[in-house]
């Protein structure tokens, strides 16, 4: 190992293939080897899923893990007929709740950040304290509450609690961001005759687009992946979200691996599309679970 290996290098602009070749010669090769080894095992389940998703039953019985011809893309059609409804439900649920959550959280965070109203810190603490409350404590009473409210087996049984719960962390993050915005800008707008609402709408929000995006993606991720709450509150197949729909699909189609795996692939696509378009926000959103307080 050479002495200089650990040094950070300035960004070098060169053609991709050339950079890889140079890296290979520079003595980084064993790092690449290690990383590729890890990546191989990380991606292996997904690769095998894709391979199996193109098989019919005899093909799977004889050669379960290698590519077999002819491919059966019709598995995807079959899976799509079942999974599409769950995807749509998840999009409706996560989509509605993220819009509602971001609007309410932005308004509340703005109030906390920019107005010294009496009781401000007390109210803010009232929001923050909820960060300490895990879902395990509230699951049962919340279930009985929505049952009494007659919300069971409706879309609102997911959307309303998601909006409520999602606000907590969002308000915490947004308040910090809003407080750090330069006050001069708002003053200038006010001198030009803007009222409070216009300042918020036309200056505050546009300046905060990226943090709002992070908060929104975090919320989409957590609601999209939620299992237990939809499981206990939804009964009818028409309303099931992706997580519990796939779970039911697995139970019903057990051993019909081709379409089942095709369903898993289809189920992963929406978030991958979201990731493709917003990768930076996405990465921040994923890791901000870690910044919790």
């Amino acid at each position: 190992m050479t002495v200089l290996e650990g040094q950070p290098q300035p960004i070098q602009r060169m053609p991709q293939t050339e950079s890889w070749r140079r890296a290979w010669r520079s003595g980084d090769w064993w790092r690449h080897l290690g990383l590729l080894g890890f990546l191989f095992f990380m991606f292996l389940p997904f690769i095998i899923t894709i391979i199996i998703s193109f098989k019919d039953i005899p093909q799977f019985d004889h050669y379960p893990f290698t590519v077999t011809f002819p491919l059966h893309p019709d598995n995807y059609l079959e899976a799509w007929r079942i999974v599409s409804r769950y995807i749509l439900n998840s999009i409706i649920t996560s989509g509605t709740s993220v819009v509602g959550m971001v609007i309410l959280a932005a308004i509340a965070a703005w109030a906390f950040a920019r107005y010294p109203f009496p009781g401000r810190e007390l109210f803010f603490f009232g929001v923050l304290a909820l960060l300490m409350v895990p879902g395990e404590l509230t699951l049962i009473p919340a279930f009985l509450l929505v049952k009494d409210l007659g919300l069971l087996n409706t879309r609102w049984v997911l959307i309303a609690p998601y909006i409520a719960g999602g606000q907590v962390f969002a308000i915490f993050i947004l308040r910090q961001f809003f407080e750090a915005l330069p006050g001069e800008m708002f003053e200038a707008a006010r001198i030009d005759g803007a009222n409070e609402l216009q300042v918020f709408r036309h200056i505050g929000i546009p300046l905060s687009q990226s943090i709002l995006g992070v908060v929104a993606i975090m919320h989409v991720l957590s609601t999209w992946n939620d299992v237990i709450w939809p499981l206990v509150t939804l009964r009818s197949n028409e309303l099931m979200t992706l997580t519990i729909g796939l779970y039911a699909f697995r139970t019903a189609w057990y051993t019909i691996w081709g379409p089942l795996m095709a369903g898993y692939v289809i189920a992963s696509i929406p978030l991958i599309i979201l990731f493709a378009f917003t990768s930076r926000l996405f990465v921040e959103g994923l890791s901000s679970g870690a910044i919790k307080m």
């Binding site: 070098q12 980084d28 890890f38 404590l137 509230t138 409520a164 299992v227 779970y247 992963s268």
Partner: protein, 321 residues
Amino acid sequence: MTTEEIRAPASSATVARSSAPQERQATLGQRIYRYRFVYLMLVPTFALLLTFNYYPAFMGLYRAFFKWDIGLQPEFLGLGNFEKLFIRDDIFIKSLRHVSLLTSWRVISAVTFPFIVAELIFNLRSNVHKYTYRVLTILPAVVPGIVILLLWQFIYDGTHGLLNAFLEGVGLEDWQQPWLGSPKTALYAVTFMGFPWVGGVTVLIYLAGLQGISDEVIDSSLVDGCSGLRRIFAIDIPLILGQFKLIIVLAVIGGLQGWVAVFVMTAGGPGTASMVPGLWMYNNAFLWNKMGYASAIGMFLFVLIMGLTILNVKFVKTGDY
């Protein structure tokens, strides 16, 4: 909390300048009246929080002291539920052992494998490569959790599973098992799923820490002839202890809350061979309608998790990360 210093917002500054003397004399009622629209802004937020968060939280704490079966009048038990939980409920005690194993492995795997990957990426020379590997490691985190769980269920499958096929391929037919279906292996199968245990987010956190180490430190260590493994142990690890602490706390909390994975993979079975406390709570509540007893388990988990969260806030500062 990180917001100790509340900056005077611009809006109040404008108001204050025009009416500074009155501001000081304004009574609480007047000040509340002046900001009435702000309270209005908070109404929807708090209406939802009170209904769906505060009420259930207090109800959960309160009903933990009751015998509370659906359809029957709640009956006050005092500490009865907790007495039963810790003294007479063998399955709960067993589930505590299981969750300790699950959580221990989570912590061990979270401080080793992702750190190795982060070091490998960090020490690459080309920034293009660093970026490529970062994106590739984070990519699996985008796949919905349920898909990953169901895939691992397939990997462990007794007749069609990948693991058994692999064992056959390398001549270890004797080792083949219905991994999730056998009481001997179910808990271990659930514990060790996720090979090679490299969480993309965890890698990113370590990487952020490594990138925060100043170039001077690394340079001078190189001048002193400290490189390779020695540098990792003498410089990198001590300097990113904050990240390690954060990840350990997150892994412990994740282990306690990770019962959903057990639910999907084995439902705690076979029998109760892989039961964990969260799932035991779920079963008591939603299979047997013992809401009060389940609330007691919920309260136990709450106290545990809150303790850890406080530790997290106290010892792991946001600035570390």
